[in-house]
């Protein structure tokens, strides 16, 4: 496995991660539904994870991989809370469109 | 001295019902304390210019950026009289508050005492930061005193007062700070003596490419403007009448009696003591401004119908005397100025109180409305008249002594060109003062009683008249024997004068 993976130059990983990150960012900026927003954010975080794992391999230390594990955990927690908030959002506003609620002026 | 502070502060923390009496009782503590200090006072020279400092206590407070700020208090010949004056006026003011102030008394007296504490701090502090803190802390209670217990337009007056004085002190703060920065590392603290001596030693250096002398000039102007608002000198005086008219009697007593002195005191301490060259450079315009405010203030007073306004404007004019006395840079001038501060403090306090008493009885302050008060409230009116005479500078009254010294000083002013001219003009001011005061008295108090009221206007209560009497006595005492203060004032003033004559 190591042989297989490390035969790929690190810059490719960087490019992949950046691409995924940008996709997520695009989703964040264009989607109006909170759920899509959530997914996009997850995408961004996983892009970061790719970097961590890839460069953990590249530098040959485990820090990155372990941290990726933590990030996964945190991302999960974040989603959990996010969905909770979206839930109450839906209960109060009857929609998950983030642009609808405007009780307070921006 | 510590006793004085603690006493005043504790009352602020423990105000409650029957606050009036309690506050009065407690306010006597600092008074006694200050008297004790006075009796034990034997320091020569000017605190800032290397003279010895009485009751100096210095406690390291905090240290930042290589400069220490410390709890550094002490008295010298200039600050002690004002110190005593404050402690003397406050109890009387509190006494005079018993009648008019009926709402939320505890807070009122609390604020009064809090203000006293800060006033004492202002006069005693010898560290810039400490001083500035007290200086600003005085404004806050005054703001509330006017804003809450004041007259109908109190909001306007309070905010005007607050904005004016805050802007001013910001200006002054910037000015002083630029000095400190310009001094750079030559000073290791904010202690005034050190800074003053450093400046005298010519440690001012260019800062951010600005040559030292220009910095000094800028700083001088900034501080002068800042204090001028406080004094107030003519272009910046407009907040004063509003504040006075709207403020409750005790507040305006302190306002006129002490707060104005803060301005002149600061002028003397900072501008004229620290930056004598700049002062002497600007002597002529400053003197001019002083004289202008004498005349102009008097004129305005002449035009007023409201007794309180009259007194207010008149205090503008007599502050002009003080400035004049300061700027001439003679032993007598500065001494006299300081003395005049005290005197005017007493007199204007007296006037305001008397007016307040009458107002409480008649609920009007309009000249003419209250004609014939003399036979209704003989004692009060008598004292009022006496005070007026004191204002006019009648001999044997404190006012006379102060003004006399000032004129003596200014006539023989070496540093000030055209001194006689200014003096003459200023003297002319007295005439106007006499004019309007007499007319006011005449048209107001004597003659038949015309004001028809649904209640009978009788003599004022004892605790109203008592402070008036006490003040009058004090005024006369000072007038008869000015030396009790003047001596120490003079030897505190001398170094300042030398300061300018040396490099002047």
């Amino acid at each position: 496995m190591t042989a297989l993976a490390s035969s790929i130059p690190p810059s490719w990983y960087l490019l992949l991660a950046s691409a995924i990150f940008c996709i997520g960012l695009f989703g964040v900026l264009t989607r109006r539904s909170a759920l899509y927003f959530l997914m996009s954010v997850e995408l961004m975080m996983n892009a970061a994870n790719i970097n961590f794992v890839a460069f953990a391999l590249y530098y040959g230390d485990l820090t990155g991989q372990v941290f990726a594990l933590f990030v996964i955990a945190l991302a999960a927690a974040e989603v959990a809370i996010g969905i909770g908030i979206i839930l109450v959002l839906y209960r109060n506003f009857g929609t998950t469109d983030v642009t609808v609620p405007a009780e307070m002026r921006w | 001295m510590a006793a004085a502070f603690v006493g005043a502060l504790t009352v602020f923390l423990a105000p409650d019902e029957w606050a009036g009496r309690l506050a009065f009782a407690i306010s006597l503590i600092p008074f006694v304390g200050s008297l004790y200090l006075w009796s034990g006072f034997e320091a020569g020279g000017n605190a800032l210019l290397g003279g010895e400092i009485a009751y100096a206590t210095q406690i390291e407070w905090l240290e930042v950026g290589g400069r220490t700020v410390s709890w550094f208090v002490g008295l010298d010949g200039i600050s002690l009289p004002l110190f005593v004056l404050t402690t003397f006026l406050v109890p009387l003011a509190i006494l005079s508050a018993w009648t008019p102030v009926d709402t939320r008394q505890s807070q009122f007296y609390g604020l009064m005492l809090f203000m006293e504490a800060n006033l004492l701090g202002v006069f005693a502090a010898l560290d810039f930061f400490l001083w500035f803190v007290f200086w600003e802390a005085v404004l806050v209670p005054m703001y509330f005193l006017i804003g809450i217990w004041g007259g109908p337009r109190r909001k306007y007056a309070a905010i005007k007062f607050f904005v004016y004085t805050n802007a001013a002190s910001l200006l002054m703060f910037i000015g002083f700070m630029s000095l400190v920065f310009a001094l750079g590392d030559s000073v290791s603290s904010f202690a005034l003596p050190e800074i003053a001596q450093a400046i005298a030693a010519g440690d001012l250096s260019a800062w951010f490419g600005i040559p030292a002398d220009r910095i000094a000039m800028v700083a001088f102007l900034a501080m002068f403007l800042g204090f001028a608002v406080k004094v107030p000198i003519v272009p910046f005086h407009t907040w004063l009448p509003d504040a006075h008219v709207q403020a409750p009697t005790p507040a305006s007593v302190l306002l006129a009696g002490v707060l104005l002195k803060m301005g002149t005191y600061a002028l003397l301490r900072f501008n004229f003591t620290m930056l004598p060259e700049q002062a002497s450079m600007l002597a002529v315009p400053i003197a001019a401004i002083a004289v202008i405010s004498v005349i102009y203030g008097a004129m305005l007073a002449l035009a007023q119908k409201d007794l309180k306004r009259i007194v207010a404007y008149s205090s503008v004019s007599s502050m002009g005397y003080v400035i004049l006395g300061l700027i001439v840079f003679t032993e007598y001038g500065i001494g006299g100025a300081t003395f005049q501060m005290v005197a005017h403090g007493l007199i204007s306090g007296l006037m305001f109180m008397a007016v307040g008493v009458i107002y409480n009885a008649t609920h009007t302050r309009m000249v003419g409305d209250m004609a014939g008060m003399a036979d209704r409230m003989p004692v009060t009116v008598g004292i009022l008249v006496a005070g007026a005479f004191g204002y006019m500078g009648l001999p044997l009254m404190a006012g006379f002594a102060g003004e006399f010294f000032i004129f003596v000083g200014s006539l023989s002013a070496p540093a000030l060109p055209y001194a006689p001219v200014f003096t003459a003009l200023a003297m002319f001011g007295i005439v106007i003062v006499a004019g309007y005061l007499l007319s006011a008295m005449q048209s107001t108090l004597f003659g038949p009683f015309e004001l028809e009221t649904d209640y009978d206007v009788g003599p004022a209560a004892f605790h109203d008249v008592a402070p008036l009497a006490v003040l009058l006595v004090a005024i006369i005492v000072l007038g008869v024997a000015p030396d009790i203060f003047f001596e120490m004032i003079r030897d505190a003033a001398l170094p300042v004068v030398e300061g300018v004559t040396i490099d002047g």
Binding site: F21, L38, A48, I81, I85, N92 | W61, V64, I159
Partner: protein
């Protein structure tokens, strides 16, 4: 180490907070009948105060001294030094205040337990953030602060404002934390380590660009936590919509948490020299951020009609001031330590006065008087003590000399000037003048204005004791910090200087 105690002792504050949070859950488990409100408030307050005490004790006992005496734990991922303790003190005290105040604010809430425990858990995260010496810990702790905060903001599930605020806070927060994380990953990619010191010493071969992007992204994350431009726009919504105690918590403690990241991470992981050499000039970007932030915050605050919203914007402005602490740094500049220390001191003072102010708003909400300036008119007749306290907060926030706010601000500006950042200090001074305007509006409303209808204040029938206690305590602290400013500023300065 603290006189021979095990090294973990250095983490005592954080541990205490965590234990408190769990204890709260247990208390609620034992007595889930919502009447446990009081007991939970007590437990929470006691716990956070214990944490505070532990912090002070650690600082005083000099066990962890800034000069190399910092305690490194868990393979250097945790570093307890004076900086950390200083900030932990802020967090603990704010937490205590908020918890006490919450007792009255949530008096009729169905289940306050979650609130208390969430606050304490968030505080734990902050304490952890303060000691984090590795980007991994930084991120984990940061999330540990954020996640509870999201819930807290949206805590009033029936209140549309609160929910909307929570939603917006969450959206921005999730986004910014993702950005922050990606920044970390880039830094890791460039340097191959997450330990701050190693990052600093790592050799960046050709990946300087990556590093730069990473640093910029991390700045974004910090900007969010500190509610400063460009991630500031959640703040007004969140602070306004959230329950007032939560607003207090977020705007004081959470903000400070953001700053501890900024202070430690940027100075230790990307030291000034390296930042300049690898031209990753974060100081400059922070300077710009600070300038924009304080100006925007203050001027926006000046035009607000609602007190809470005004406070929200003003807290943005204060974030701008505090940012000077990381902005006005130059390579071996004379006053690097001073300026950062001053910023820390400012954060401490700010912690008290701002919390107090928001808690006063909480009291107003509890009373049911309105939210605008006009609604506060004449409050002082009904609540003199609280009003005086509020006046203290306002003047102190405005930086009027008699109060602690003046000192912290002044020293901040002075240090900035000493470091040659005259323009920043000037801007700050101008902004302070602006701020005086809108702060004094509150005081004016409280004391001078008359209520538009005499019955307007009859809503004030209750005397929320705990809220009163919290507010008054905050006020006393604000005042006492004036004479007590010496040790504070000196500790802060020493702690900050240790970073350079």
């Amino acid at each position: 180490m603290v006189n021979g105690l095990p090294a973990v002792t250095a983490l005592l504050p954080a541990l205490l907070l965590a234990v408190t949070g769990l204890a709260l859950l247990l208390v609620d488990t034992i007595r889930p009948d919502a009447r446990s409100n009081t007991s939970m408030a007590v437990v929470g307050a006691v716990g956070s105060l214990a944490a505070l005490a532990a912090t002070v004790w650690l600082t005083a006992s000099g066990g962890v001294s800034p000069d190399g005496g910092a305690v490194l734990l868990f393979a250097d991922t945790v570093k307890v030094d004076t900086l950390a303790l200083f900030f932990t003190a802020i967090f603990a005290s704010v937490t205590a205040l908020v918890l006490v105040a919450a007792h009255d604010y949530f008096h009729d809430h169905a289940n306050p337990a979650a609130f208390y425990s969430l606050v304490t858990f968030a505080a734990t995260g902050m304490a952890l953030l303060a000691v984090a010496n590795s980007l991994a810990v930084v991120f984990v702790a940061l999330e540990m602060v954020s996640l509870p905060s999201y819930v807290l903001v949206a805590y009033l599930k029936q209140d549309r404002g609160s929910v909307e605020a929570g939603m917006k806070y969450f959206l921005v927060g999730a986004l910014s934390s993702a950005v922050f994380l990606f920044g970390i990953s880039l830094v890791y990619a460039a340097t191959g380590s997450l330990i701050l010191a190693d990052i600093a010493s790592a050799s960046i071969d050709g990946l300087a660009g990556v590093l730069g992007v990473g640093v910029v992204m991390m700045i974004g994350g910090v900007a969010f936590k500190t509610a400063s431009v460009p991630f500031h726009f959640w703040a007004p919504e969140a602070y306004e919509g959230a329950p007032a105690p939560v607003s207090a918590f977020l705007s004081s403690a959470s903000k400070a948490a953001g700053f501890v990241v900024a202070f430690r991470v940027f100075t230790e992981a990307f030291p000034l020299e390296m930042a300049v050499s690898a031209n990753v000039d974060w100081m400059l970007s922070f300077a710009v951020l600070a300038a924009v932030t304080m100006t925007l915050g203050n001027f926006a605050a000046a035009v607000q009609e609602e007190v809470k919203r005004m406070l929200a914007y003003s807290s943005i402005g204060h974030a701008g001031y505090a940012l000077i602490g990381v902005a006005a740094l130059t390579v071996d500049g004379p006053a690097n330590g001073t300026v950062m220390g001053a910023a820390m001191a400012h954060l401490l003072v700010y912690g008290f006065m701002n919390t107090g102010a928001f808690l006063f708003v909480a009291m107003a909400e509890r009373w049911g008087v309105g939210r605008t300036f006009a609604d506060y008119a004449g409050l002082w007749r009904r609540a003199p003590v609280a009003s005086v306290a509020m006046a203290v907060f306002m003047f102190s926030l405005a930086g009027l000399p008699p109060f602690a706010g003046f000192f912290s601000k002044y020293f901040l500006f002075q240090a900035a000037i000493d470091n040659g950042f005259l323009w920043l200090a000037g801007l700050g001074a101008i902004n302070s003048v602006v701020s005086l305007y809108y702060y004094s509006r509150v005081v004016k409303a409280l004391f001078l204005d008359d209520p538009e209808s005499p019955s307007a204040l009859d809503a004030i029938d209750v005397r929320p004791t705990a809220l009163y206690a919290a507010v008054v305590f905050a006020a006393v602290a604000t005042v006492l910090l004036l004479p007590g400013f010496g040790p504070v500023i000196e500790t802060a300065e020493a702690a900050a200087s240790a970073l350079f």
